[in-house]
Symmetry: C2
């Protein structure tokens, strides 16, 4: 029966998306200063024109371009200075008549009647209240039009944007100080195993330090998800079942990381089957690494279950490919930017399985993706790698000279 | 005199590095769970072998490889089952004699005397306490050797590593639970200008909303720096001077963002000259955008001053190129990974100046860098861009078909 639930990674994703349809991430409002890295929960449309007035991009004089005609070094044009715009002062009462000019600093209001600004470098005060201008300008020169940056009704930022500093700048410019964002999923990480000791202890023969609960919690945090707890438990059904009940009450996602032995996998599957009212969705995925992956869903508490493979590389890759991608998909984020790189050796894939290959990148006009091989359970090669690329199930591997798409580790 | 202090961007960086030599970022120790994104302050050498015992990568039977000789489907070999390794239990007393086998789960201790593990799929219990094995194995097969992942004395992670989830996994594996990291610089952001209003207000004619203090604070936070305060102030010398004194007491970096008019630039330079005992280091950089940039240093309080250009794109690029690069350099971080992309149009540079060109990336085997042009003071094109590339001072621009290195916006 279990064999029937071994899915391709795409099928496993599809099942998660199906059950998640009913539990769209909630939204909340945060202040602009707290919005860096958060994911926008709705489209932001500008209610204003930016700039709201015609703005000078130079220190100079507002003029009527036709007044300067063929002004040049040898034959300057003369204009009458009739005022000065001060930054931050309402200059909307000023009006420029033919033959006049008004001083405007960078960023200043360009008075009505003017159609250009001539740089101060080409201007020289001359006699009392006159200005000699030694350059002609075309209409519109050195002026940012009303709404040229953003027009009223423009889409400022789309739902799903993970906010970067300049996006926050756009929101500030448009006066959006309360930002609608998605509430990060709450994640419980449970690592199980009689052989696990916590990192501050020295493992005895047959014992290993718990790695996965640290990497999975850190990966969650790096993505902006909220880690509500990290627990390490012995392989005791009753204890773990109780932990699952507690976690269901306050978590959106429960990540279980056990070993990769058959006994461990069966135990994880049974625990999920009992704790989740929709039971196990996927029991094993056709991926390398990543086969011993289990997913499940509890509808009543709206909790996703993911049982990760025990090997650190596999656990991180599967967590990235299933849960992080699901979060990004549900919140409408754009696909991450990947690096196109060339492999300079033949790398086999696992036939019929999605294969993930760790690589480091070597600089070049087209960077080289140099494979990093991590035997089962090893962590140092994972840390050495810059990222990984994937090979489709029906692909026989990549050949010397092929271009691959490298996902950078976060 | 000011003209003499207009520097190339490399010279401006050099001056900052010189004065910073005396103020290496301090270090502190944080717990492993809090170390994601932090920058490692010293090399980490492993004091142990990982794994500390010979570990099986399969569910299977520990055997002596020569006992299986030419075992195959048709002619299995028979071994005597003499024990079972339980995960997490000290099995170091077990010893495997010729003709024997011992069950070992994935991750389990491989008993002395054995030199390989044969997968459980090729094994079948046979009669009382005997095992039929239908496959031969070579010495070492399915075993991770002691120290194969990490050997005692190996460099685990180098100083300057910005810790990713898998790096935290390596530290966990090696038992490093207190992590030496750099104390993030404390940053005060002061935006000045009579024309600035805070984003929740509607700007009147000649007023604009404060953008830069939001983008610069957000960029600092995204880099892991600590923003101690963000202040917006009117163009009042005495008020700003007092703010600078307060900030000198508790900040490593004071970022001032004023306008780009000549009066504003002079005012910023004078304020830095008075507040910083080493005075102004750079007054203007030969960069486009970014010319009106001012740096200074106060030795007594060990405070860097950076006066940024007023235009949002310029402010962000200069902050990235000067301050963020300085922080990364001082903490020994590797250069960021950039994206090689092809331009499909001619793009001019500003002769004699380092030119930064905003771009979006368009997918392709070699991605295309499509230029984004932002007129002075505009913010929406900056948000549209995926990043920027730079053109050297002596380069005349890039041509259709050239490959450029795109720095992704954070």
């Amino acid at each position: 029966m279990d064999l029937l639930r071994v899915d391709t990674i795409d099928a496993a994703r599809g099942k998660l998306e199906d059950v998640c349809g009913s539990i769209m991430p909630r939204t909340e409002t945060v202040s602009l200063h707290d919005s860096i890295g958060r994911v926008l929960a709705r489209n932001i449309i500008s209610k204003e024109n930016i700039p709201s007035y015609r703005r000078s991009i130079m220190d100079g004089y507002a003029v009527r371009s036709r007044d300067l005609g063929a002004a040049g070094d040898m034959v300057p044009s003369f204009l009458k200075i009739t005022g000065e715009v001060l930054l931050g002062t309402d200059s909307s009462g000023l009006f420029l008549e033919a033959g006049q000019c008004i001083y405007v600093p960078t960023g200043g209001y360009v008075p009505d009647g003017a159609d250009a600004v001539v740089m101060v470098e080409y201007c020289e005060p001359f006699g009392s209240g006159m200005l000699a201008v030694s350059k002609s300008v075309s209409a519109g020169e050195n002026i940012v039009r009303v709404g040229e940056d953003v027009a009223e009704g423009d889409m400022l930022l789309e739902k799903g944007r993970r906010l970067r500093p300049q996006d926050i700048g756009v929101l500030a410019a448009a006066g959006i100080t309360e930002v609608p964002v998605f509430v990060p999923w709450k994640v419980t990480v449970i690592s199980t195993g009689d052989e696990l000791v916590s990192p501050e202890k020295t493992p005895g023969p047959g014992q290993i330090r718990d790695i996965n609960s640290y990497t999975i919690a850190a990966r969650s945090t790096a993505e902006g998800l909220e880690v509500v707890r990290t627990v390490s438990a012995r392989d005791d059904d009753a204890v773990i079942a109780a932990l699952l009940e507690t976690a269901k009450a306050d978590s959106d996602v429960i990540v279980m990381s056990g070993g990769s032995s058959q006994g461990k996998k069966d135990m994880t599957a049974e625990l999920i089957e009992r704790a989740a009212d929709c039971g196990v969705l996927t029991h094993g995925i056709a991926a390398k690494p990543g086969k011993p992956t289990i997913t499940g869903f509890d509808k009543r508490s709206a909790t996703l279950f993911i049982g990760l493979p025990g090997h650190p590389a596999a656990a991180l890759i599967v967590y990235e490919q299933l849960l992080i991608r699901l979060w990004r998909g549900m919140t409408g984020q754009n696909p991450e930017i990947t690096i196109k790189a060339m492999v300079k050796t033949n790398i086999p894939s696992a036939p019929g399985r999605r294969t993930f290959q760790l690589v480091t990148l070597k600089d070049g006009d087209i960077p080289e993706a140099v494979p990093v091989f991590a035997r089962s359970g090893m962590i140092s090669p994972v840390s050495l790698a810059d990222g990984f690329f994937e090979m489709e199930e029906n692909r026989e591997g990549v050949k010397d000279g092929d271009i691959v798409e490298v996902h950078l580790w976060k």
